[in-house]
Structures are given as C-alpha cells and as structure tokens.
Amino acid sequence: MPSLTESESGRKTYWRSLNELGQTPEFRKFLESEFPNLAREMSGASRRRFLQIMGASFALAGAAGCRWPKENITPYARRPQNRTPGVPVHYATASEREGVATGLLVRSYDGRPIKVEGNPLHPDSLGGAGSLEQAAILELYDPDRSTQARQRTGQGATARPTEAALAALRAAVNAQRSTGARLAILSEASGSLILAEARDRLMAACPQARWFEYEPLSRDNARGGTRMATGRPLRPHTNFDQADVIVSFDEDFLHQHPAASANTRRYAAHRTADDGTMNRHYQIESTYSLTGANADHRYAEKPSDVPIRLLQLAAALHAAHVRLPADLVAQLGDLPEAPAYIKEIAGDLHQHAGHAAILVGPRQAPAAHAVAVALNAALGGEVVTYTAEGDPQRGSHMDNIRTLAGLLERGEVDTVVILGGNPVYTAPADLDFGAKLAKAGLSVHLSLFDDETSARCTWHVPAAHYLERWDIVRGWDGTASIGQPLIAPLYGGLTPAELLDRSLGGTADGYTLTRARFNGAFGSDQKKWESALHEGVIAGTAAARVTPTLSGDWSAIVPGARRQAGGEGYELIFAADKLHDGRYANNAWLQELPDPLTKLTWDNAALLSPNTARDLDVRQDDVLAIEVDGRKLSLPAFILPGHADGAITLPLGYGRTAAGGVGDGMGVDTYRLRTSGSPYLATGASVRKTRQTYQLATTQDHHAIESEVGNQEVFDRAPKLIREVSLATYKADPHAVAHLAHSLPLVQPFGDHAFPDKHRWGMTIDLAKCTGCSACVTACQAENNIPVVGKREIIMGREMHWMRIDRYYSTTTDEMQDLADPSKVQVRQQPVTCVQCENAPCEQVCPVAATVHDQEGLNVMVYNRCIGTRYCLNNCPYKVRRFNWFWNHHGPYHPRSDGEWAQQELYEVQKLGFNPEVTVRSRGVMEKCTYCTQRIAAVRIAARNEQREIAEGEIMTACQQACPADAIAFGDLRERTHRVAREQESDRAYVMLEDLNIRPRTKYLAALRNPLHDTPAGGHGGGHDAGHDDHGHEADGHAASHS
C-alpha cells in the first residue's frame, strides 16, 4: 500500500493532521482514483474504521513475533490466528541510537504499538528501558512527523511523491556508476547489518563515493584513546558485577551511556549490601551528573583539572606500588600537587586491585582514555574488558563532518545523501555546514521530521520510525537483534538501507533485505529466525573480547592529557540531557520530563555553581551572555549546587527551529558555541550578566517559595524523608534507619482493617538502588495516558506526572552552608507516587466518595464520580494527586495549542498512542497513581480464568518494569516469601511520614553510602541530622496528640 499521504499533483501543500489532509481536494481525488472503497472510509472522523483499515492492512501478524509479510487490505471478517481484538501482543524489537541497539519489548493493541519495555533477554537492557526508549511511542505518533517527500527549489518546498525523490537520486547515482567521486553519503552512526550491506553494494557500484558517519555526541574519544594505547580502537565495557571500587572521571555511566540500563542494573545490585558489602564509587567531574549524584565520594573539579587528576591518580598508584608502564610513569613528573583525596583513592584502588575500574567519560580527551586503559590494565582483573569498536578505518566523527564540509565548500561533491541525523543543526558552528550543504546540486535527507537539515536539502524523504522497520542491529556488547516493525510505515517512510537500495535501482523492501541478510549471516533455518524474532536477540552474536596489549607511546600521549586550561575565563561543558543531541526536541514527554538534578523542563539553561553565580552576581533566571571564540549566546542561568566552580554546563539539543510544534523555540541552541576544535569542553569563555531575565520552569524548588526559614527546614527535613545511612552504621546497628526519625506510638482505635482472603498489593522502592534516572516517570506517563501540560502550566505548578523524583541537596558535613562547596554537596533522590495508604486521608474528605478503598487495599480513584473539589489533593501529605485543570491533552496551554481559547481536538494520529486499558481523563477530575490497576486486573482475570494463583513477578507496574536499577518491587504482601513482602520487613524499610498513621502500602528502603573511612555513627544512627536536637526527645511525645 502506498503511503496515504502521497500527493500525485506535487503541489505545495502543508497540513498539520491526517484529518486535515484527508479533506484536501487533491487527496480526495487521489484517494478516489486509487482506493474507491477507502475513500468512503477516510471521509469522516471514523477513528474506529480508520484503525480497522490500518490495523488490518499491516498488523496481520502470525505467530508471535512474525508478521505477515504480504501487505494487503483484508477485512477483519475472519480473525487471524493468535489474535483476539483488544488483547495486547508483545513483540521483541530493537531501537538504535548512535549505532548502538537497545533490545525492547513492545506491547501492541490491535496493531498499534502502545508501550515500550526493555527486553530482559537483551544484554544491554536486562529488562530496563530508559526515558528515551519509553518516549518512542510519542515520537511514532507525532503529528509533526514528515508525511511525504518534499522537493525544495529556489521557489520553496513542494510536496512530491517519494518515488520522484528516488528517481532523482537514482539518476544521480547512475550518472556516477563505477566512479561515484562526486557522491557523498553522510550517515548517522549505525551498527545495522542491513545498512552495512547496502553500503557495500553502493560502494561496489560507486567505488569512489565517500561515506561519512557523524554523531554530534560521539564516543570517539574513547575510540581514539584505546587506539593510542593499544593500536586499535576498542570499546571498553565495565563489569560492575566485579567492581568493588569504581573511579569515574566525568563518565556518566548510569545515564548518558549506550549501556546505561545494563550498567545501572549491575551497579545497583551492588549498592544494597545484602551480603554486607557494596561497591565504592568515586566520581570526579565538573558538571553534576546523575552518576555523580549516586557516588559515595564526589569531587567537583574544573574540566581542565579532571585529566590532571587522572594523571595524579596514576602517579599516586605508582607511588602505591601499582605497576605502570615505565615510560608512562616517566611522564608523570612535574604534576601539580594532588589533592588529598587522590592518594586515598589510589590506596583504595590498590587495595582492591583486580576488582577496581577506572572509567573516563566521552568528553575527556583521547589521551585520558589511553591513560585509563593503562591504569585498568595495571589494576588487573576482569572488571574492564574490551571488544573491537566498529570499523577501524573510520575517521572520527568530527573529522568526518569537517572533511565533508570541506568537500562541499570546494564543490568536490554534488550529490549528498544524508541518512538520518540533523547535521545542519548539530554540526559544529565553525563549519557552517548548512550554508555549505546548499552548494550540493542534489542533496537528499532521509529523516523522520522535515527538519533544519531537510530545509537545506533539495529533497526530503520521510524515514521509517524504528517501530516501522525491519533491521538487524547490534547492541553495545555486539549482540545482534532483529528490529521488527510493530506497524507498517504510517507515512511510507523508508529505512536508510531501503533508500540506498532504491537508489541503486532495487525494489526490495526492508523485510526481504533483512531476511536475506539474516539467512546470509546466521543461516536460513526458519526456527532460528523465529527464535531470534521471538527472543529479540540472536543468540551467540556478542562481540568477542579483545585483550589489549599496551603499545602506546606515552611520551606523546600524556602531554595530550595534560592540556591545560585556556588561562583566563570560564570553562564550558557541552552536555547531553534528556533531548539527547536534540533529536527528541519535539517529544513532549521528554521536554516535560524534569531533569533529574535541576528539575528543569522545557528549557535548557547555563548550569553554574552557587560560587560562580555569586562571582557573576547572577541569580536564577537571569540571562547570561556567554562569548567564546567570538561566538555569542544568551541563555538563562540555573544555579546547581555541586557544579564545579568556574565552569558552566550548556545542555545541547534545545532551541530547535524546525523540530515541530512542540520543540520549536524551546530553550537555546547551544550548538552555536560548539566548534569542531573543542566540541565537548571549551575554555576561555567570557560570561556576563545581562539585564534580562527569563522564567525557567521547574517542578521543584520553585523560586518564589524560597525563604531563609524554609531553606533551613528543607535541609533539616530531607534526611527524615529520604533516609540514608552509611554502610558501617548500618552494619553496626541494623535498626539505624529506623532511628533516623523518632517513631511515635501509632494507635488504630477501631482495630486494623482486615483484607480477608484478598490480595494485599504493596510496593517497595529501594533507594539504595534507585539512581534517579526518571525512566519510571516516562514509563508511567506512557502507560497511564498522562497528559503533557506545557511550560506555562509547569510554571503554574501543574505538572501531571503521577510519579515524580524528589531531589534534595544535603552535604557531607550536614552543615547547610557547605552547599556552597561543590565537593561537599550530595543529592538525595526518591521516586514518589501514590503510596496507597490504608488510612487514606484523601478518602475521608471527598464529599462524593470519588476516591475509595478497594478490597485489595488499593486507594482507587473513580474518575466518573469525581467532581473536582480538590480537597483530596490538599489533604494528601505526599501531594501525589494530580488535577486536570483543563482538558489537558489539548488544553489552552498545551504546547500544541496556541491561545487561551484553543480547545483544539487531538490529531487522529495522536489518539492512536493512547493505552486503551486506561481512561483518558477529562477536565476537572483528580487522578493519581493506581499501582497500574489495569495491569493488576489483566493478570487477576487471567489467573482466575485459569484457576491458579498469581505468581511472583507476574504483575509488574509500569515503573517497576521500566526501572533499569530494579529498585521497585511490587506484589502481594500476603505472600511472605515474595520479594516485596520480604523487603517490607527489611531493616532498611521505612515509611515516609509514618507518624501520620496513614499506613501506606509503599515502603522505602533507605539508601546506603559507602564512604572510605566509614565509621558507625552513634546515637541516632545517621549522625547527619543537624536540626534533630532542636526537636528533642521529650518534645516528640507531644506530637502524638497531633497525629
């Protein structure tokens, strides 16, 4: 079936929805001539019929994981095998970002993918899936996605059939058959076997064609560093199962890392001290990363000092008699005096040699990575291992884009094919890539969105989303997975491989290409294919380990790591956040996802430390003017305690101009300061305050509510809410967690409520495991149809997330004034959602009984009974109830609305993304976490029909399933042997706000920290409760009368 949106007339048309498009005369005409039957169905807003057609045409899957490769429109008169309408089916697939695949399981209802989960069988997921993966559903159904090919000439953009673009490309390629010298391909990093094959075919046809690969956020420095040290590019893997001591130099291995899910799972497993031990994690970094927030010791250093610290560590290790290459040691002579902690880390590393890992982040120079290779080798063991990294011939991404820009500049290339990516937006500012691209005679951009790069190309071709395409991709450890489509391309999008195939005159579709490649690489055994589809991984395809041999010339390498700061001025750090390199800018779930540390939504800001802010006389929301190398940028300041002094972090990915209705104009484009010479760290920036201010939208720490008494109270209260003890304290006194706050005698005057013969659902959230990555927040949003409200509503404090991550700052000294010392700042994080109180304060105040208790102990919300008095919200001590102040999915301040009265309808395609199991709430009702009651019901019904008990782990809440750290346990508290019941009895378990006697079903397990020189804290256990003594023992007895 050709795409529904192709326009034969080729006239310039723009539309914003399928609905709108469906009404254009051109489309009607086209439809009537092509599909007389369909025309009738497409005329109205019959979503049901539309779905049936769409579903029937492309979702006729056979056995699980196997889709009917023929693409016919068939009525649903006869039910296909294994398909019951309304019963979801899960398929394994894989997404790919920056050449690294993540294995996923996707739930599909009637042909619509609805929810993304991690694939537990995939080595890089282990069941977890981060926010970026979760948010793919919104991207798939984004009404701003490009729906058709466009040709751009001097006169503007014209909608054309994709075939016209392919014909133009085919002609250009044919003209260069057997040479290809004037043909260049710029691809995103990709591990796709299909694309590699297509590339080989193209290169065979046009041997002189140039193939470039570019990623703005690249791990090329590690590649370069390993090449320096060992002679070949390697990919380092850290085996956190064996790491007792982890020293990370600016590496955000829990968050901004291709294998973050698996890293988090393994790291977190060693943070609970179940066997009395836990890993110890040192983080040396400039910006405050999520990984740093979880460290036992974190040292904030200026970016230029980080590699020096690494070298100082090398020197200290040498001093501690760790055997390092002699010529490396020779280079460590005249280092500046190391801070005391370096020696302590070295001692700790030495003591744990064989079970220690030194990690270096992708922002650090290749030389630093090279030194890390040598240090890890010297420490021995199997903690850090290596596999081969891609194509050793490939130049670095920065070199690639620079070379291509040069070729374009000199006119040596006149056909450019850009496969994905958005280089016009992401290329270093000094290259002025957009202007140079315009010099190419034919430029074709294959992408999901008609974006900045498309606007500079002569052709834009819509790409297939990864949920719409066949592919074979490789994970971080090299494991191959089949990328299986969940839905036929909504707009006839192509994959990069398909585009190349077409340009060579081929006609094969993705399935044929994939199946052929699979047969070629892994054998044509049908069983194997089916198993690979079903499992989501192709067994035994992980990359072989490489044992590195140090061959580097340290006298050349080490000076590279000692690159000194550019003297005067501030240092800039270009960092990725939730929008990644900007590709997710139009994804409202991610835009509205609070940043784990700053809690910022919808904007980026210059992150700086309180001291730097004081030096600059800057307060939050003041606009800064930053200038580096003659490039200027203004953006608002955000004060982040714990950020290194003298440095400023600039998150990338914002300020898009052609992202779509959601992402355009949100934040500031910091790529404009980023040059090919210093893409990650820049020095010598001048920063000054301007007179402007800009209102940032945060979901916590609202500026106006701050006061001196309040700040002190927050600082004092946080340790009781988010409890944390040191390992030694915990071991010395198992009840240390309980002692952190005085518990009062709680009386149940009318006896406990019995829940006879019923399940008693409960949850535990292990704060020792939780890293704060916020995957649960997005998972909850996707599962429960939670609306996005837009920036203005966030400023108004009306975010709708049922799950949030509370974040408080504390200090290693328990002195509030030390929040100004970046290395003493610690972060406490805690996911908070409805805790399902047995004595729920919300229930008794509702005048219409819209929130009541069910027999299994859930505090349920009856949406259609709710009249919206909001009394429950007031009386909820956790403030987890969320109110629909407007028709939130398309309210007046929704990012897609544009005015106070705009009560616009949703685009039809957006409606496809709703979870049909969950009510879409109307204006004026309260909502909150339900423990995913729809998931409970589904399993309960199935178990009842099969007359069996519900097994442990059979019901997973969305947050639990997404959690890469496995921090959340859920289940029936009656089953004493189940994990959730055991954890609720744990010594670390505590109830937040226990003295209100509201008896929550969710308990938290206190976090642990494992500092070096840990000694048991006496008395109250924590030893970090400055405000504690004010309350006193004798006084607490009286508070009982209040509760």
């Binding site: 309040g710 108004m796 008794q844 009984a849 919206g868 007031n874 102040w885 007046p892 009702v925 209040h1042």
Partner: protein
C-alpha cells in the same frame, strides 16, 4: 417630619436614665416617614451617589458572571490554584463572605434574645447584608469544583446510581450548614419584614401596592397577628442562635478536620466564629456609616449604635488576636515539627507580607477602640471597619494559602499567585453584593419600622419607669 439633629452624642450614660435610641424630635409618624421615604421617593430623587454606586455594582456583577462564564468554558486552571494549593481565592472568598454573613443573624437572634434593644435600628439591613453575603458565599463552592455540571452530586439526591454523598467529608457538612443558615436567615429576615411591608403597602398605590401586598401576606396589624408574629419571631431567633455558632464552626472543619499543618488545630471553631462576628460587624459599619449619612438616618442609627458595634469589634478582635497567639503557643508546645514550621513560616516566610497585613488589620488597629474618642469618631470607625474587612480576608488567605503551600514534603512546595481571573471574580462578588444591597435600600425598608417604634419613648408612655429598670 421631624428635625434631624445631625450627630447627636447619645453615648453618655446617665445613671437611672436610659439613653435614647432614637434621637431628634421623632414621633411614630416621622419615623415611618423617614424610613419609607427612601422607598417611596421618585427614582429621580434618589441621590446621585446611589446611581453611581449602583452602576459600578451592576458592572462588577457583570464582571463576576463574565468571569464565571469564562471559567466554565475553560476550566478551573484559569485561576491560580495549583498542585500544593488546591484551594485558592474561591475558598478564601467563600469563608470571607460566610464570615460577613454572621453579623446579621447574631444581631437578629442573639441580641434579640438578650434584649439588646439597640439592635432594632440595625438589624434589618444587617440581616439583608447576611443574606446577600451568603449568596455571594454560596457561589464560590459551586463554581470552584472541576466539573461544575455535576456539582449537584454534593446534595443527597436520590439517583439511579444509588450513590449518596460521603458523609465523612467536611465539605458535605458545609453544604448542609450553609444552606440551613441561608434558609433560616432568609426566613427570619422575611418574617421581620412582614409588618413593614404592610406599612409600605398601605402607603402605596398601583403596582407597588400589589407587590408589597403580595409579600405582606395580608397583614392587618391585628392583635392576633402581632401575637403570632412575636411568637414566630422568638422561635426563629431561638432556632438561629445555634446556627450562628454552628455555621462557621462547620466551615472551620473544612480545615480543622484535614491533616494539613496549620489547618489541623482544635481552636478553629471558636476562632472562626469570633472572626466571623468580627468581620460581620465591620461590614455592618462599613455599610451603615455611609447609608445613614446619605439617607438622613442619623437619628435612628445613632452614635450610640456605632459605639456599641465598635465595642463588639474590640471584643471579637481581641478574641481573634488571642486565637492567633494561641496557635503559635500550641505549635510550640505541641512540638509537631511540621506545625511548628508552618507558623514560623507564616510570620517570617514568603507570605510574611500577608501575615503581617492580617495582624495589623485584625489585632492592632481594632485595639484603638479602647478609646472612647475613637469609638465615637465616625471617620476613624469607618476606616477601621474597612481595615478589619481587609484583615479578615487576609486571615483566610493566610490560613488557606500558607498552609497548603508548605506542607509535609518540601518537594511540592510552591508559591501561590492569584491570576487576573481570580481578582475579577473576587471583585465581581462585591459587585453582586452591592447590587443586591443597593436594591434593598431602594425597595425595602432598611430600618425595622415596627420594631424601632417599640424602643422609642412614646412606646413606653405611662410606664416609662417600670420598663427602665431593665
């Protein structure tokens, strides 16, 4: 018609002799004439200021209903309410107006039962003010819900879902308390009006005669009528008396029964009742002072009346001040850290401006009424009555907003800002209140004519001394 003597000081106590409650050379006929004149004079003879005020009030009423219309079309999000502060201006205004509505019934019922005869000069329009204030109050809980089209689910109506309201919720108690109060106050007011409506009927002709006659229920002034009337009035007074105490106690339960720090305090019921009477009397003064000047009622609403009301304001203002102090004491003595914090934060936190506005208006300025010179100074009284109104509104602001803004988990703390719509709705409610009040002044006797005659010396002709010993 009697001569108006202007500001005659009848506040001096002469031993053995009652101070006159109607001054000037009034007889029964001249009192009737003086009161009915406002209702009977041709429209063009109404003072210009009445027209101006009425125009403004009607315009503001339009603003009120316009704002409500916009609210209904768009959603509660047009207000400043937000995640920690689920309640904002609507609930503040509700409590404020219910509080205003307290003086009327107190004057009609409690002062009646206590034989405080000076109440007769002010009870009629204090009661009218009560009715109008409660009307304004009742608007807010109705419109503040998220789905206004099903707001009737708060009422215990039989329905096909067999769903009753949830009787443990203080909001439901509110529905009963305020509606009962409104019904009884309306009835009380109407019963008191019957003899005066008959007077107007007898003096009128044409449509007015018919209209007043309709509502006068055939009153002829027969002794039997008077007998029944007095009995009914006494019974209604007895019925209303507990309501004066109950309605604001129940309103305070909205807060006291919840567990929000700053709300969850046992002192709330008496404290709210005292505050309500305080604000109610301030509003009576705010209305009475211009009205008596405008319509030559200084003989009937005399300086003594004003001084008496000032004394009540002094008393209730002091009670309110005591309650403020006691809240702090209990927060310290109770050692509940959350409660302790919220009271410190009220005084020194981000809302300190609102708190100190409240303290100065409610506690400091009314203390000036210890001085008789100030109690009997009309201008200062008027200013203080306005300040008390402001202060009592801010009291509700402080209670509702500061407590909700900074409760248990600091992560959800947020500052509450009212939006333009909040202000328009609030100001609009004053428009409605004054529209109703100005219409009342024009069309109904603002003084209880029949009753006031009972406290004039002529009524006691012949047994002056016997009665004076009361």
């Amino acid at each position: 018609m009697a001569v108006t003597v202007g500001e005659y000081d009848n506040t001096f106590e002469t031993p053995g002799k009652r101070a006159p409650l109607v001054v000037g050379d009034h007889d029964f006929a001249s009192v009737t004439e003086a009161v009915c004149n406002v209702n009977e004079r041709p429209m063009r003879e109404m003072p210009l200021i009445w027209y101006v005020l009425f125009g403004i009030a009607v315009a503001l009423t339009g603003v009120l209903f316009g704002s409500i219309g916009y609210l209904f079309l768009t959603g509660v999000g047009v207000w400043g309410v937000k995640n920690p502060a689920g309640w904002g201006f609507a609930i503040i205004n509700f409590v404020f107006w219910v509080g205003i509505g307290h003086a009327g019934t107190l004057i009609s019922a409690i002062l009646f039962l206590f034989r405080q005869t000076w109440r007769t000069a002010i009870n009629r329009f204090a009661e009218a003010m009560t009715i109008f204030a409660v009307i304004c109050a009742l608007i807010f809980p109705g419109i503040h819900v998220g789905r206004v089209w099903v707001v009737y689910w708060m009422l215990p109506l039989p329905n096909q879902m067999a769903m009753w309201p949830q009787f443990r919720s203080p909001l439901l108690w509110d529905v009963f308390a305020v509606n009962t109060y409104f019904t009884v106050s309306l009835l009380f007011w109407y019963v008191g009006l019957i003899p005066d409506l008959a007077t107007l009927r007898d003096r009128a002709s044409g449509f007015r005669k018919w209209a007043y006659g309709l509502f006068a229920l055939g009153w002829t002034g027969a002794a039997r009528h008077w007998h029944r009337y007095e009995r009914a009035y006494l019974i209604l007074a007895a019925l209303s008396t507990p309501l004066v105490l109950s309605v604001h106690s129940v309103v305070s339960f909205d807060f006291a029964v919840s567990q929000v720090p700053g709300w969850h305090t046992t002192i709330f019921p008496p404290y709210f009742v005292a505050g309500a009477i305080f604000s109610g009397f301030a509003m009576v003064l705010t209305l009475a002072i211009p009205t008596r000047a405008l319509f030559n009622m200084k003989d009937i609403i005399t300086l003594r009346h004003i001084e008496n009301m000032n004394k009540i304001i002094l008393l209730t203002g002091t009670l309110v001040g005591y309650a403020y102090a006691m809240e702090f004491f209990i927060a310290w003595y109770g050692q509940n850290p959350n409660e302790k914090f919220i009271f410190i934060a009220r005084a020194f936190g981000p809302y300190a401006w609102a708190y100190w506005t409240m303290i100065s208006c409610n506690v400091i300025f009314p203390q000036l009424f210890w001085f008789k010179a100030i109690r009997t100074n009309i201008a200062i009284t008027f200013v203080i009555s306005l300040l008390v109104n402001v202060g009592m509104w801010f009291e509700r602001y402080v209670i509702v907003i500061t407590s909700l803004s900074q409760d248990f988990l600091p992560s959800s703390w947020d500052y509450y800002w009212p939006t333009t719509l909040d202000w328009l709705t609030f100001i609009g409610s004053f428009g409605l209140f004054f529209t109703l009040f100005l219409l009342f002044i024009r069309f109904l006797p603002m003084i209880a004519i029949a009753e006031i005659k009972g406290v004039m010396p002529q009524a006691r002709a012949g047994h002056d001394q016997a009665d004076g010993g009361h």
